[in-house]
């Protein structure tokens, strides 16, 4: 729903992210160049380069003029330069992004779909033994932090059983191609995806189960039964479909959570995505990378949320009447 309300909300969020990224390094005590570019930069930088950077970001002028220069650089697609990697920030991040997208996408789809199906089944049998076991089991699973789940999987299937690789996204220097390469990628992807899927399964499940319980009390459920429809049709087409709606609204928020979860899981499996990059940057105090990751990740999550908001009235026409 592209309401004025939504636009304002996203505008505030967007401005907050940009301002945080702009202000934080400039508010730090000491040399702003050091806070913007990190330790590494100051060692390698020549005085001429330093001067040109001060000029570029007009660091010797008042804050509001710096803001102008910052926006100008940003809109030219300039995210800064990492002296640690000796490459532009944007290209470093873009190089890592595909792995993270693969990880986040697969886990989000798997955990949402599994969560919905389990939620429908559990809500349908509410109060039964199956329901209670599933509820207690999934709520307990929900208590395991994603990185601990990752470590458990790593130690069980990687270290002890040696079925899956310990680190990375590809077998190094294997020279694989075609189907063999695809299998190698999937083999490395399996444990990180399993960790994230298990960690985020419960949210979708709990929400679907809750909605299922309320939906089952609706009069149209009685009608469906009276018409003599089969169990499967009632469960999935009548109750299940309506129980999925809240899940869709939440997907945006979950996306944010899975993205942050990836940060931790990538670290456990040394998976070369954006999360692992952030970790390396934190260790090296490579501020341009940290800022770039922050900007790209936060803006992507906002954008995804925005698109989900836009598509929601199409899924549930009742929402349009509410405005």
């Amino acid at each position: 729903m592209l309401s004025k309300r939504n636009v304002i909300t996203y505008a505030i969020a967007f401005v907050f992210i940009l301002l945080l990224n702009f202000l934080l390094p400039r508010m730090m005590p000491g040399d702003p160049l050091m806070a913007i570019y990190g330790n590494e930069a100051l060692i390698t930088m020549t005085p001429e380069l330093k001067a040109s950077l001060v000029e570029r970001f007009v660091l010797d002028e008042p804050l509001w003029q710096q803001l102008g220069a910052y926006f100008l650089a940003l809109f030219q697609g300039e995210l800064g330069y990492s002296y640690y990697y000796n490459a532009p920030v944007l290209s470093v991040i873009l190089g890592r992004l595909p792995w993270t997208l693969l990880l986040v996408g697969t886990s989000l789809v798997l955990s949402t779909m599994l969560g919905i199906v389990l939620g429908i089944e559990s809500g349908w049998r509410r109060g039964s033994r199956t329901d209670r076991t599933m509820l207690a089991g999934l709520m307990s699973l929900n208590g395991f932090p994603d990185f601990f789940l990752g470590m458990l999987l790593l130690i069980t299937f990687g270290v002890t059983l040696r079925i899956f690789p310990l680190a990375g996204a590809l077998t190094p220097y294997s020279g694989l191609s075609g189907l063999a390469l695809l299998l190698d990628v999937l083999w490395h992807l399996f444990l990180p995806v399993a960790a994230l899927t298990l960690a985020y399964l419960a949210s979708g499940y709990l929400l679907t189960r809750n909605t299922m319980i309320t939906v089952l009390k609706e009069p149209y459920m009685l009608t469906a039964r009276a018409k003599g429809l089969s169990q499967r049709v009632i469960k999935y087409r009548h109750a299940g479909r309506n129980s999925m709606l809240p899940v869709v609204t939440q997907t945006g928020i979950w996306l944010g959570r899975v993205v942050t979860g990836t940060l931790f899981v990538e670290l456990v499996f040394a998976y070369p995505g954006v999360g692992y990059l952030t970790y390396e940057a934190l260790l090296a105090r490579d501020y341009p990378i940290i800022q770039g990751v922050f900007l790209i990740v936060a803006v992507s999550v906002l954008l995804a949320n925005f698109l989900i908001d836009l598509s929601y009235p199409k899924l549930d026409p009742r929402v349009s009447y509410a405005y």
Binding site: I12, L20, M139, P145, M151, L152, G256, L267
Partner: protein, 281 residues
């Protein structure tokens, strides 16, 4: 709201389990100096020892007693958890109740800010802030609270909107009661159970975050923390030390969060009364 929260939790099986776990963890945290046999910060040359009668969970890489660290770790986790829980519920109540009572432009501004913060992924913001500030425990509690009261404020506002239409509030208003008096005497007492649920989820979120940040290595290094212990243990995953170092720590953290989840879930009908009867004790 005429829902008895105590009854709600006591009548649910997981609710009771959760409460038991939680009370146990609080006891461990409070009695840490009595339970822990050694100073968790005392380093020694006896590094990476397996469990023994003297050191139940062995020693870590710098020769600290892991069992003592585990016990003191509960303090850090719960301190951050409860600190953030209290502060963020307080902020949520102040902004939620006031925006519902005052209304108008004030309400609009507050609610837009709330919505904006709900869509921003919080950990990413904290990671950026921590990269620059390297927060100590007090700063961490403040930062987490400032970034996490928004969800609660939304629910509290909704509930206040319905409460303020009740007869006794109208009666108080007709006697000339101001917003503050109405909020304090009539709204907040009725919000009680809702605030408790908000608080429980706030604690849970904060414990998660603290562990996560410590695991990333951007928390206060001078405090023992479960996240930090797991991070250290993971770097020795090629040895068998994970059995008594990584697993017990991870389980302690998970158990605490599971306890909070169970209590929170049992209390959830307070927010969503339609769920009542969904739980069979």
């Amino acid at each position: 709201m005429h829902i008895d929260l105590k009854k709600e939790i006591k009548e649910s099986g997981p609710g009771k389990t959760g409460l038991t776990i939680l009370l146990l963890m609080i006891a461990v945290a409070l009695l840490a100096p009595l339970i822990a046999p050694y100073d968790p910060y005392q380093q020694s040359t006896a590094s990476l020892l397996p469990p023994s009668l003297n050191h139940w969970l062995g020693m870590n890489h710098v020769g600290q007693d892991i069992w003592s660290q585990l016990v003191y770790g509960a303090r850090t986790s719960l301190l951050v958890g409860f600190g953030v829980g209290i502060l963020s519920t307080l902020l949520g109540t102040v902004f939620g109740v006031s925006s519902a009572l005052v209304g108008g432009l004030y309400e609009k501004i507050i609610m837009r800010i709330v919505d904006a913060f709900i869509v921003i992924p919080m950990i990413i913001v904290i990671v950026l802030l921590s990269a620059y500030i390297r927060p100590g425990i007090t700063t961490l509690i403040l930062l987490l609270s400032l970034l996490s009261w928004q969800g609660g404020a939304r629910i509290i506002r909704a509930q206040t909107l319905s409460l303020k239409e009740r007869g006794h509030v109208a009666a108080a208003k007709s006697f000339g009661a101001n917003h503050f008096y109405i909020a304090w005497r009539h709204i907040v007492p009725d919000l009680g159970p809702l605030l408790l649920v908000d608080f429980i989820y706030g604690v849970r979120r904060a414990i998660f975050m603290e562990a996560g940040l410590a695991f990333l290595g951007i928390s206060d290094p001078s405090l023992v923390s479960w996240g930090m212990m797991m991070r250290d243990a993971l770097s020795f995953s090629y040895l068998n030390v994970w059995q008594w170092w990584l697993i017990p720590t991870g389980l302690a953290l998970s158990l605490t969060i599971i306890g909070l989840t169970f209590v929170g879930h049992a209390a959830e009908p307070v927010i969503e009364p339609r769920l009542r009867g969904a739980e069979i004790a």
